[in-house]
Symmetry: C2
Subunit: 288 residues, 2 copies
């Protein structure tokens, strides 16, 4: 049970955590924080938060749990601001999509990652953003990855794990850099391909006509290209190394594929497509 | 009204046409044709066809409309086989995903594309195949592109257009090579990216773990990688030139994107993602 939760960044991720904990009866008071007044007022109207402050330091006063759900580029500044205001015993965790950069930010602010900080990442989301997009079921039956480091206090990890469990999520732990590699592969690379594909078509002369003949498969395939451009710019910059490595791997695959087509190598094309379908069907069978 | 329809290849595309025309009361008798007996018997059991033959020449006897819904690589052989058996006045059309190759096949078989052949392509489908996957609503409110050539008889085009309209589809006409370019962009390239992405991940050492952390966006994004490998091998070979050109374009885009990430060019990344989102949202607004 959390007595007072401070949510810094009351958008899709922060707002959904607040909603889920409230619905589970797992939180007393929720204090929100953001830069723009209208979003915070709307969050209060919707019952997502009880009260708010536009100053992160003020928002965390007396909170036993602090959740950072701001864009990646804002993490360091928020950590800096809240550092002197945290209550003794408070646990701080985040929902950022990249974990190496958050650990680096904490190192820069505190000298070393502090024991009360538990880097985390819910593997859940939609292409919408803002508090209006938040809903209590976002994390139900989804995975949350926590990436504690050497300095992290085990009790802090346990409290964050209990919080996510209360939202219906399944919590796993992972090494920071492994997290960033896995997410580069399963999330960041696919987003680059979707953005890149739509942009390629949009840049073609006859682009209006082209989109007119796109069918249902295209709609699903490019759904993730409707995600927030700012959020994705931040993720690219925060996970530059792992994402660059994955883009390199994929470029090799694509060059191979182009060569097989050019050389009309039907057998190898068939083998590649069959391998991919088999892997996807296995993954889908495994998906809950 | 079609008196006797011959469907060569009673799978998703051929079976759905038969079902849709029956439901619309727009067809008298439906004769199916395929290689394997079980699929044809199943098609008759399901009421998709009235009777069948495993010989395309026998199947088209007395048919006023012939629909070719076989894999791209089988088109030429089927045209060759049915040529001497077609009834006078019969119209032949197809549902193949590539049109240049069908026109070339017809040229090879008949010397020149015959007036009674109307190349066509319904922009509809799922990742499933076989007659069990067929359903009457597949073409409802979807587009069908017809690509008549110089030699095609206008009355033949009109009859095919009326057939698709009876299925609830919207019919447009397009130049053969333009069709193949547009489809390379909106369908064939996305399939290559989905197959290529899943194969890239499947080839990584820790691939089981990687797929475990893939979320909902990944599932949608890779749905099309569950499509038939044989069908896609055929499409790649049949649309080699236009698809190679699109793969080239996309590779340039991807190299640019990789460079922007490497050089940490946040402004240009933001511009690219925003352009893509704007284009997709415009397309989605336009989608019916
Ligand atoms: N969306 C997803 O699918 C997803 C999934 C997993 C993880 N994440 C991660 O979760 C975090 C939040 O993403 P989201 O989708 O929830 O975005 P969002 O809906 O845009 O919410 C972000 C919130 O942060 C506030 N904010 C921005 N800068 C701030 C600052 N300097 N100080 C205080 N508040 C600030 C924004 O409000 P104001 O503009 O009014 O300040 C906004 O309400 C990101 O780090 C993202 O990488 C996202
Ligand atoms: N699926 C889509 O999303 C989609 C969309 C638009 C267009 N298309 C095009 O539509 C065509 C059919 O695709 P589909 O999805 O309907 O495939 P499908 O479900 O696999 O059906 C193809 C049918 O053709 C039969 N067949 C294969 N070779 C044959 C031959 N030599 N002679 C006679 N029958 C033969 C197969 O049965 P047997 O194996 O028993 O012979 C099978 O029933 C392809 O050209 C494809 O490019 C597909």
């Amino acid at each position: 049970m959390i007595a007072r939760l401070a949510v810094i960044g009351v958008g899709l991720i922060g707002g959904s955590l607040a909603r889920a904990l409230r619905e589970a009866g797992a939180v007393g008071e929720v204090v929100g924080c953001g830069r723009s007044l209208p979003n915070l007022e709307r969050a209060r109207e919707l019952g997502v938060i009880d009260r708010f402050s536009q100053d992160p330091a003020e928002a965390v006063v007396g909170a036993d749990m602090v959740f950072l759900a701001v864009p990646m580029r804002a993490m360091r500044g928020v950590l800096e601001t809240i550092a002197p205001a945290l209550a003794p015993g408070a646990v701080v965790t985040d929902g950022g999509s990249v974990k190496g950069s958050v650990v680096a930010d904490a190192g820069a602010v505190f000298g070393a990652p502090p024991p009360f900080l538990v880097p985390g990442h819910p593997i859940a989301g939609t292409e919408r953003s803002g508090v209006e997009a938040a809903f209590a079921e976002l994390y139900r039956d989804r995975r949350v990855i926590l990436t504690p480091v050497e300095q992290t206090a085990p009790e802090a990890v346990d409290r964050v794990e209990a919080m996510w469990r209360a939202c219906g999520a399944e919590v796993t732990r992972m090494d920071v850099s492994h997290h960033d590699e896995v997410l580069a592969a399963t999330s960041h690379l696919p987003h680059m391909l979707a953005f890149g594909l739509v942009d390629t078509l949009a840049r073609m002369r006859e682009n209006d006509e082209i989109f007119r003949y796109a069918a249902g498969g295209f709609r699903d395939f490019t759904r993730i290209a409707s995600s927030s451009p700012e959020m994705w710019r931040d993720i690219c910059l925060a996970n530059r190394e792992a994402l660059s490595a994955m883009l390199g791997r994929f470029s090799v695959e694509l060059a191979d594929l182009a060569r097989l087509i050019r050389e009309e190598d039907g057998d190898e094309l068939l083998a590649l497509f069959a391998r991919a379908r088999e892997a996807r069907d296995r993954y889908i069978d495994g998906v809950r």
